[in-house]
Amino acid sequence: MTLLQSLSVGAPEVVLAAGICVLLLVGAFRGDRALEGLSWASVLLLALAAVPLFDQAPGRLAAWNGLYVADAFSRHLKLLVFLGSAAAILVAVPYLRRLATARFEYPLLVLLATLGMAIMVSAQNLLSLYVGLELMSLSAYVLAAFHRDESRSSEAGLKYFALGALASGLMLYGASLVYGFAGSTSFADIAKAFVAGEVRNLGALFGLVFLLAALAFKVSAVPFHMWTPDVYEGAPTPVVAFFATAPKVAAMGLMLRLLYEAFGGMKADWQQIVLVMSIASMLLGSVAAIAQTSMKRLLAYSAIANIGFALIGLAAGTAAGVEAVLLYLLVYLVMTLGAFVALLMLVDADGRQLEDLADLAGLARTRPGIASALAIFMFSLAGIPPMFGFMPKLAVFSAAVEAGLWPLAVLGVLASVVAAYYYLRVVKIMFIDPPAGVVVLPGEQGVNPAVVGAAAAFSSPLGYLLLGPLAAWGAEAARALA
C-alpha cells in the first residue's frame, strides 16, 4: 500500500485537513470580517470532501496500513455528518452576527470536529478511533464555550471538558486493557483474539466495558448522560444544534463498528450492556423531560431518549437492527436540527433569544410558520404515525421483536407514549395558550428559514416518498458492517 493509494482512499479526510489549513490562514489574515465568506467556503469544502464518497469503488478499501477503512458504512455516515456540519455552520452566521461574537474560528472548529468524526467512522484500530474521537471532542469543548463572555457558556464548556476528559481516560484505560489481552490494537486482530464460544476472557470484558462507557458518554446514553442538559442549556444554540446531530451520528457509528467488527465474538456480552443502557436512556429521557421549563433542556432529554431508541436496534444485534439504527440516526438528525434551528429563529423585541417553554405560548398566532414547523418536529420526534419520525421507531421496534427481544420493544413503546406527553405539551403551548409576548424575527436570517422548511418537509409525511432510496442506502451500509 503506497502513500498515494492511502491518500486517494482517505481523500475526504485529506481534502478536509488541507482545506482547514488554507481557511485558517485566510481567517488569520482577514480577521473576523471573513466569517461569512469562510462559512460558505467551509460548506464548499465539505461538498468537495464529499465528492470522493460518491466516486470511490464500492466495497471495502483499506488504507494507511490498516488504520483506516472506506466502505459503504463509513461513506453513509460521513455523508450524514457532513450534512449536519454544513447546516450547523450556515445557521450560525446570523446568530453570531446578532450577538457580536462573529469570530472567524467558528466554522473552522466545526470543520475540525467534522474531520475527527470522519476519522471516527472510518477507524479500524483503537488508535485511529481515539485520535478521531479526541479531535472531535476537543473542538466541541471550545465550541461549547464559544460565548466566552457569557458565564453560562463558559460553564458549559468547562463542564463538558472536565467530564469529557474523564471519559477519554476511561476509553484509554479500556483500550489498554484490550490491547493487553488481544496483543494488538487493530479491530481485525481483536476480533481474531476474542472468538465466541471459548472461555470468556474477563480482562477483555473489562476493557470492553470501559470502552462502552466512554462511547456512551459521547452519545449521552444513561448512565453517562449527566452533562447533556447542562451543556445544551449553556452552550450557544447553533452549537447545540451541532452537538445534538453530527457528533451523535458519528459516535453511534463508531460504536456500531467497534462492537461488530472488533467485538463481534463477544456479542452476548455487549448485548446485555447495550440493552440496559437503551432501557435506562429511554425511560429517563422520557420521564425527566416532563418537568423541564427550558426548551433546550427539553430537547436535551429528548436527545437522551432518542439515543435510547436507537440503541434498541444495536441491542437487537442483527443486520436488520443495524439498518434500523442507521435510518433512526438519519431521521433523528434532520428532526433535531430542524427543531433547534426553528428555536434559533425566535427572538423577542430586546433581541434576547427565546429559550423557555413559556415564551412559546401562543406562537401559532404571532409566528404561524415557525409554530407549525416546530409542531411538525414535535409530532415527528414523538413518533406519531403520519409523520416520518414514526418510521425509524417502527424499524427499531420490529428489529427488536424479530430478535426475540419483545420486552424491550414493549418498554420502548411505553417510553414513546410517555415522551409523547411532553412533545404534545409544546404543541399545546404554542397553539392553545394565549400569546406571551412579542416574537420578532431578526432582520438577517440567512439560510435558516430554508433549513427549517426543508427539515419540516422531510419530517412530515412527505418524507415517506424518500423512504425507498433511503432504506436501500442504509441496507447497503449495514451489509458492509455485518
Binding site: 482517505g10 474560528e105 472548529l109 475540525l112 485511529s128 485520535v131 473542538s139 494488538s184
Partner: protein, 205 residues
C-alpha cells in the same frame, strides 16, 4: 548481576523521589524531586537498552516540562497550607476508603483469572531503537501521527479563541513603517528667534 544491582539502585531512587514529590513541604522542592525521578527513570530505560527513549526523557521531560513546572510553581505562588487545611480532617475517611479498595483489589486479584495476556508484536530486528521508533511513528502509524498534529492545531486555535482579546488603544511597533521612514518625514529644521525656543509638541513629533 551488575545490571540487577544498577536496576535496584535506580528503581529505589525513583520510588524514593516519587514519595518525596508528594511529601515535600515546599512545592519547588517537589518539582526538583520530580526532575530527580525523571533522571532515574531515564537510567532505567538505559538499563534495558532503550537509549533513545532515555535521551528523550531527559531532554523533553527534564529539559522542558519540569523546568516549565518550576516556572509555573514559582510564578503562581500557591498557598499549599490552605489547600492542605482539610487534609487531616478527611484523613481517617480517606484511609478507610483506601483500605477497603485495597482489600477489594486483593480479593479480585487472588480470585480472578483474567485470561491470557497476549504478547505484542515482536520488535523488528536489525534496526536501532531510533530507527524502529521512527518507522513506527512516521511509516506504520503516520495517519495517527498526523491526526495527533491536527489535535494540537485544534488546541492552539481553541486556546486563542477562548483567551485572545483585541484591546483598543494598544501602542504597537510597526516594523514596516519604522523601516520605511525617510529623513524628510522626521526631521524638521527650525530657526527660532534668539531666546524663543521651539515649542511644537515639546519638540517631539
Amino acid at each position: 548481576m551488575i545490571q540487577a544491582a544498577i536496576f535496584y539502585l535506580l528503581a529505589g531512587a525513583t520510588v524514593l523521589a516519587g514519595i518525596m514529590v508528594i511529601s515535600a513541604r515546599n512545592p519547588v522542592h517537589s518539582v526538583l524531586w520530580l526532575i530527580f525521578a525523571f533522571v532515574n527513570a531515564a537510567g532505567l530505560f538505559l538499563v534495558i537498552g532503550a537509549e533513545f527513549l532515555a535521551m528523550l526523557l531527559v531532554i523533553v521531560y527534564v529539559g522542558a516540562v519540569a523546568v516549565l513546572f518550576l516556572f509555573v510553581v514559582m510564578m503562581l505562588d500557591i498557598d499549599f497550607a490552605t489547600l492542605r487545611a482539610g487534609a487531616m480532617r478527611y484523613l481517617p475517611l480517606g484511609l478507610l476508603l483506601g483500605a477497603a479498595l485495597s482489600v477489594e483489589l486483593l480479593l479480585v486479584a487472588s480470585a480472578w483469572e483474567a485470561g491470557a495476556i497476549a504478547p505484542s508484536a515482536p520488535p523488528r530486528s536489525g534496526l536501532s531503537n531510533t530507527q524502529a521508533l521512527g518507522t513506527l511513528l512516521y511509516t506504520d502509524y503516520v495517519f495517527v501521527f498526523q491526526a495527533a498534529g491536527l489535535i494540537l492545531l485544534t488546541a492552539m486555535v481553541g486556546a486563542i479563541v477562548l483567551t485572545h482579546r483585541e484591546r483598543a488603544g494598544v501602542k504597537r511597533q510597526d516594523p514596516f513603517r519604522q523601516a520605511s521612514r525617510t529623513p524628510a518625514e522626521t526631521i524638521a529644521l527650525a530657526r527660532p528667534a534668539v531666546g524663543a525656543g521651539v515649542e511644537t509638541e515639546g519638540g517631539v513629533r
